[in-house]
Amino acid sequence: MSKHWQPTASIEAIKEKARILQSIRAFFAQRNVLEVETPIISSAAITDPQLESFSTQYNQQEFYLHTSPEFHMKRLLAAGSGDIYQLAKVFRDDELGRNHNPEFTLLEWYRSGFNHHQLMDEVEDLLRGLMNPAINSYQRISYQQAFINQLEIDPFEADVKALKQCAAKFKVESPQGMEEDRDMWLDWLMVEKIAPSFSKEGFTFLYDYPASQACLARLDKNDSRKANRFELFYGELELANGFYELTDADEQAKRFKNDNKIRQQRQQKLMPIDDCLLDALNSGLPDCSGVAIGIDRILMLIIGAKHIKDVISFGDEFSENSI
């Protein structure tokens, strides 16, 4: 398919995006949350094995395009910025499809003194103002409860064998190459059975993920099997990810190193750990929660777009391999 010079998004969609951005800025201005900018290109990068960064060079040194502005924003928080938000273009390699574009717009913000439930409240407040027509269905369910309800299994206790049996019991045909990776099986059941069970025409917050999927969230202070992380969905579509942020530098360093260990096992590239972030955590990150929302997907919901390229002005840069 050859490319056209025209935008892939309608002028109407482009205007709607401008309206959303204005409305987001007004929302945070009213709540005294400061808008900030941080570097897109950085010498350190995310280690998460599920995320691939684009890379580039400067002076024969390798640099990476950020997959989210999280690390630099945390350095601002540690430096005493107070509550901050950012509307950033972010980049993720190998993510292309109906709901994925390798370059997309992320809204990310941090609130000191908030736990993840208070931040979910604020996400809901923001969305109530943004969504037009209004959507009034906002549900919350814990990761554990969702698995118990749909699959009669406790995701914090089940081993790989139990998860496989569960998939077989509910007639979920499993892809090849899953091996004995517990999180992969959880993700698989999540995609096949849990997400499809969410309200089709409303928002669902799924919270308190297994500790093995904590990413940058702290573990629950009463139950270390779970992490204070949440995701937001509309139907099956994932829109946001939030953390009650981990502030322990040693624990964070351990997780980064473990990520790289997994990368090595899977023959992925090892990523340079962000020592500046670790130093910032050592110097003291305020007790806070943070969340990132995919703005293009929000726009898809508002205008009823079926493909993400319908809401990105020129969404066909990577389209050669897409459908």
């Binding site: 999180d183 096949e192 994932e238 391999n321």
Partner: protein
């Protein structure tokens, strides 16, 4: 053996699944938030014509189907097989009814079709997007009724029955879109 990674998946890509050649109809990347990505794929089994759904762990490789598309001329149908000839090499192939799917009813002799070959034997025959066929049977046309809506059935020389505007007469040559099975226009002779 050639293979494709899930990153190569796109519409029309031909794979081997359970020993049968399949063609990708739809490919969707699904990711449970920050976790493992999967490709949810809708495919057509090119031997049976059946549509199936499969999910792959992203990054996995799948065996490529060694199929080629060749433009071939339709010769004749003997009731069992449909015979096609490569106009360059004069090589002939016989396609079973199952390979014709919907194409048989749109083609007449000499029509240039796309024949998908797997190990040399025809898997699928695709009619041209547009064909020109004469009307062999239809109710008499209504004089002067060239602007009004309303349709009637017409049988074409290939045997297909399509809905046509009321003013169409027997013997007229029509342009048909084989993908939708719809009448497009009259062809001036």
């Amino acid at each position: 053996m050639a293979s494709y990674s899930t990153n190569d998946f796109r519409g029309g890509l031909k794979l081997i699944l359970d020993n049968d050649p399949c063609s990708i109809i739809e490919n969707e990347l699904v990711k449970p938030g920050k976790g493992q990505a999967f490709n949810r794929v809708k495919l057509r089994n090119l031997k049976t014509g059946r549509v199936l759904e499969r999910t792959f762990k992203s990054g996995e490789s799948v065996e490529a189907a060694d199929v080629i598309d060749v433009d071939m001329e339709f010769s004749y149908n003997d009731g069992e097989f449909w015979y096609f000839m490569d106009p360059n090499t004069f090589e002939q192939v016989a396609a079973p009814d199952s390979a014709m799917i919907d194409s048989g009813k749109w083609i007449k002799a000499q029509e240039l079709c796309t024949v998908t070959l797997w190990d040399g034997s025809p898997l699928v025959v695709t009619a041209p997007n547009f064909v020109e066929l004469a009307v062999t049977e239809t109710d008499p046309g209504l004089k002067g009724d060239t602007a009004q809506g309303g349709t009637k059935p017409a049988t074409l020389e290939s045997g297909a029955v399509v809905k046509v505007p009321l003013f169409i007469e027997e013997g007229e040559l029509l342009k048909i879109d084989t993908r939708s099975g719809e009448y497009v226009s009259r062809v001036k002779s």
